[in-house]
């Protein structure tokens, strides 16, 4: 087959950059992004393990800490690690197919790096230092209802940081698009809309209109161009919302319709998933054919999939709000349309998986660490893609929505598909970037297999918990999930410990060290010893977890802080209550009846937020009443009028009930 004729394009063979300066730039940019991203993985991975341990009651975190760490973990692992890794790898993909990063692309790439680093830094400060715990989706208007747990500045710094991350995504898109429409495209027409069409792969479908000479656009360029276009469309509305929210932090009268805000959030929140997937696909398109020693097995139909993806990716946002259909809104109709559109978006994954699996099929595929990681990545992509189809189906989503099933789904997708692409790229290309041999191929293979094993098990536990009705984003899960969570925590610790092998390999390679091969050291014994080492590391991590537990447990039991370790009695039904007994009450209780007040306290939801020993309440959202010992007038005022996160109970409790509950609080805390 000839690649020369513009009218019959075939998959071209990669022709990497040869110019030393262009190569050097691509190397530097890629290495800079990828190494920073792996450092972010190290931090956010530890946070993830701490969260899972806490849910398993192995080192219980205070609720604010739990949710602040959850916010940092989500953004850090998803955008800061997986996203940032593949954003950097995009530059190396371009280098592998002969597309140099030119001046504007370079400026944008540098801006992207520093905007992302500043954004991640701001997120660390606002969550870990200032306790912002609005979750990484910061669902409007939650950032402004902190229940007294974080302040205005935490909100402002967090939102500004997310805005910086958003801007970094936009500048990255610009640098990607600028690089994609370079002369390396070999587009016959020099008009830029036409060049975009060529870069999007239209030449495979309409060879005359989007002609190239002498060769067709390399497949890896297509997903990069698609996401470059889509993320600009997806990010700009969110940037507007973020600016509004930053203003609202200081001008509380500003307001946005929460339903509109939710749609804008997911308008961005869906495509950002593909900011991870599509560049990862580009890496697959480069590496899998190389490891298989043949061209990508792709028919022109694969570009049909990508053409659908350009559109579908930015019009499927509402599958994240399937369960929002308030009266007098068109949301139900929009949501219904999202199911077929989301299904359409899965076609590009189905076609890519076909092409990649058949590229490996009956080839002399290299089963080295990179090859193994990519293969297991494809397997995980297929598996998590199928659980994604479950989520995309409204009838199923009503059960799995916001359950741990979703957490299982995206951890498999992000860690075992995207993450494996990042790891495979490191193992395959770190030697080229650094000029040093990979420290240990055997260690890399162990890391990949163990990550696959523990990562899959980790996901399976979440999927099962989710189908059993376990909600996501719960610091303390209902009691029946404790055993599942303990199993999950053990697996998460092992998964985390395994990554030490990954970091060690990177550090040693950069230092120019080379491990002896297994044969040099005595074959299987070394393998067994390494397995032992991993188990030992896992055990050490477990011990560290237990030590943290002891410390945290001691701290939380001290009178200075509180804990939500014990399940609290259910809140609610303020109106379904209060037999009022008449007893003689001391004058300093203002005539309230503390016995009746106890019933009010227990039924009106007070124990959801407050700790009060006399009522067995251990809530930690509001002040600890045993410590505060509030005076009668203050209790009556707060219960009647509310303040901050504390709602007013005026409309739910009678004045008599308010007096009673105040009497109960004062009596039970004044001794």
């Amino acid at each position: 087959m000839s690649a020369d004729a513009p009218t019959t394009p075939v998959s071209p063979i990669d022709e990497p950059l040869t110019d030393p300066a262009e190569l050097r730039l691509a190397k530097r940019l890629t290495l800079q992004y990828v190494i920073t991203a792996q450092a972010i993985l190290a931090v956010s991975g530890v946070l993830g393990v701490l969260l899972r341990d806490s849910q398993a009651n192995l080192g219980r975190l205070d609720p604010n800490w739990f949710y602040a760490l959850m916010t940092a973990h989500g953004l850090g692992a998803f955008v800061g690690w997986a996203g940032f890794s593949v954003m950097g790898l995009a530059y190396w993909v371009f280098a592998q197919v002969g597309f140099p990063v030119r001046k504007l692309g370079r400026v944008m790439a540098e801006a992207t790096y520093w905007l992302m680093v500043a954004g991640v830094g701001g997120i660390v400060v606002s969550t870990l230092a200032l306790h912002f715990a609005g979750s990484w989706v910061f669902l409007y208007p939650l950032p402004f209802h902190s229940a007294g747990e974080w302040g205005k500045w935490a909100t402002a710094i967090f939102l500004t940081s997310v805005l910086l991350v958003g801007l970094s995504i936009v500048t990255w898109c610009l640098s990607i698009l600028h690089t994609a429409i370079s002369p390396a495209l070999h587009a016959v027409s020099k008009k830029w809309p036409n060049k975009f069409g060529v870069a999007l792969g239209f030449g495979y479908l309409w060879p005359k209109r989007f002609a190239t000479n002498p060769k067709a656009v390399p497949y890896p360029v297509i997903p990069l161009t698609v996401i470059g276009v889509d993320m600009i469309i997806a990010t700009l509305p969110l940037a507007v919302l973020l600016v509004e929210m930053i203003v609202q932090t200081f001008v509380p009268s500003a307001h946005v319709d929460p339903l509109l805000a939710k749609n804008v959030l997911w308008w961005f929140g869906h495509p950002v998933v593909y900011l991870l997937l599509f560049p990862a696909v580009a890496v697959y398109y480069v590496l899998v054919p190389r490891l298989a020693g043949r061209k990508l097995v792709a028919g022109n139909v694969i570009t049909v999939g990508w053409t659908i993806a350009i559109i579908a990716n930015v019009v499927v946002w509402a599958h994240h709000v399937y369960l929002d259909y308030p009266v007098n809104s068109p949301q139900a109709a929009i949501d219904t349309a999202m199911q077929p559109l989301t299904f359409a978006l899965t076609i590009v994954s189905a076609l890519s998986l076909y092409s990649l699996f058949f590229t490996i099929y009956k080839s002399d595929y290299q089963w080295n660490a990179a090859g193994t990681a990519l293969f297991l990545g494809l397997v995980s992509w297929l598996s998590s893609g199928l659980s994604g189809v479950v989520n995309a189906t409204i009838a199923f989503d009503q059960i799995v929505h916001n359950s741990l099933w979703i957490v299982g789904h995206f951890h498999q997708m992000a860690l075992l598909n995207i993450g494996f692409v990042a790891m495979a790229a490191v193992y395959a290309w770190l030697p080229e970037w650094t000029g040093h041999r990979l420290y240990s191929e055997a260690m890399a293979k162990w890391q990949i297999w163990l990550t696959f094993l523990f990562g899959t098990a980790n996901t399976v536990v979440w999927l099962i918990e989710g189908l059993d009705g376990a909600p996501r984003r719960f610091a303390v899960l209902p009691g029946r999930f404790v055993t599942d969570s303990q199993v999950g925590a053990g697996i998460a610790i092992a998964l985390g410990a395994t990554q030490i092998l990954f970091f060690w390999n990177i550090v040693q390679t950069i230092r120019g060290k080379v491990a002896k091969t297994a044969d040099e050291r005595g074959g299987w014994r070394v393998q067994a010893a390494k397995a032992g080492l991993v188990v030992l590391l896992g055990a050490l991590a477990f011990a560290a977890g237990a030590a943290i537990w002891v410390v945290v447990d001691n701290v939380t039991k001290s009178p200075a802080t509180t804990t939500a370790a014990k399940p609290t009695p259910p809140t609610t039904t303020p109106t379904a209550t209060t037999p009022s007994a008449t007893t003689t009450t001391p004058a300093n209780l203002g005539g309230g009846d503390p016995v009746a007040g106890k019933t009010v306290f227990e039924s009106a939801g007070c124990s959801g937020c407050h700790t009060l020993k006399a009522a067995g309440a251990t809530g930690t959202v509001g002040p600890n009443l045993d410590q505060k010992k509030p005076p009668l007038s203050l209790v009556i005022d707060r219960v009647t009028n509310g303040k901050g996160a504390m709602p007013s109970f005026k409309s739910q409790l009678t004045p008599k009930q308010i007096k009673d509950v105040a009497a109960f609080v004062v009596q039970s805390t004044s001794g």
Partner: protein, 171 residues
């Protein structure tokens, strides 16, 4: 686990799991086998057939499931049961509901987004909807069994989220 959960567990967990395993093993073993001859051009051409198969499967799944979307359940009437959600409690009427008669839940929030997930006494999730400030969402449901039903907040709403629970009684 309810019936929908069981359908998911069987179709995804068992059928999907086996399919993924078989594909992985076939592709892996093909690289180890002796016969490595394969017509790559034909495989690339057959991608069109695969495209067709995927479209047919997706259309089939769409038509098998789209009838079970819950949106119709926001219509209709029944025993009125207005619910106000706020950080971190559900304010529900004190009334006892009757089994066999539709209940019309009307949900709104005083502050942030919440989730309204209803579980029966066996901890099976019966249904869930989102609860938003500035909007009201309805959901009509008929309880067949008497008993105590539990409400759990299913949308992250702040640091007291996991404490946000409630209950009501059906007789």
């Amino acid at each position: 686990m309810g019936r929908i959960g069981e359908i998911i567990a069987v179709s995804y967990g068992i059928l999907g799991g086996v399919a993924v395993l078989v594909i992985a093993l076939v592709v892996w073993s093909s690289t180890r086998g002796r016969n490595r001859h394969t017509n790559l051009h034909k495989l690339a051409e057959r991608e069109k057939t695969w495209f067709g198969i995927v479209v047919v499967m997706l259309v089939a799944l769409l038509f098998a499931t789209i009838w079970f979307t819950p949106y119709g359940k926001s219509q209709g009437s029944g025993q009125a049961f207005p619910v106000k959600a706020e950080q971190f409690a559900f304010i529900v009427p004190g009334r006892v509901l009757h089994k066999g008669e539709p209940v019309k839940f009307s949900l709104t929030s005083a502050d942030v987004n919440h989730g309204f997930a209803v579980f029966n006494s066996k901890n099976v999730l019966l249904f869930q909807v989102q609860v938003m400030p500035d909007h009201t969402q309805n959901y009509v449901y008929t309880f067949k069994q008497p008993g105590t039903y539990h409400i759990i907040c299913f949308e992250y709403c702040g640091v007291g989220h996991d404490q946000m629970k409630g209950e009501f009684t059906v007789r």
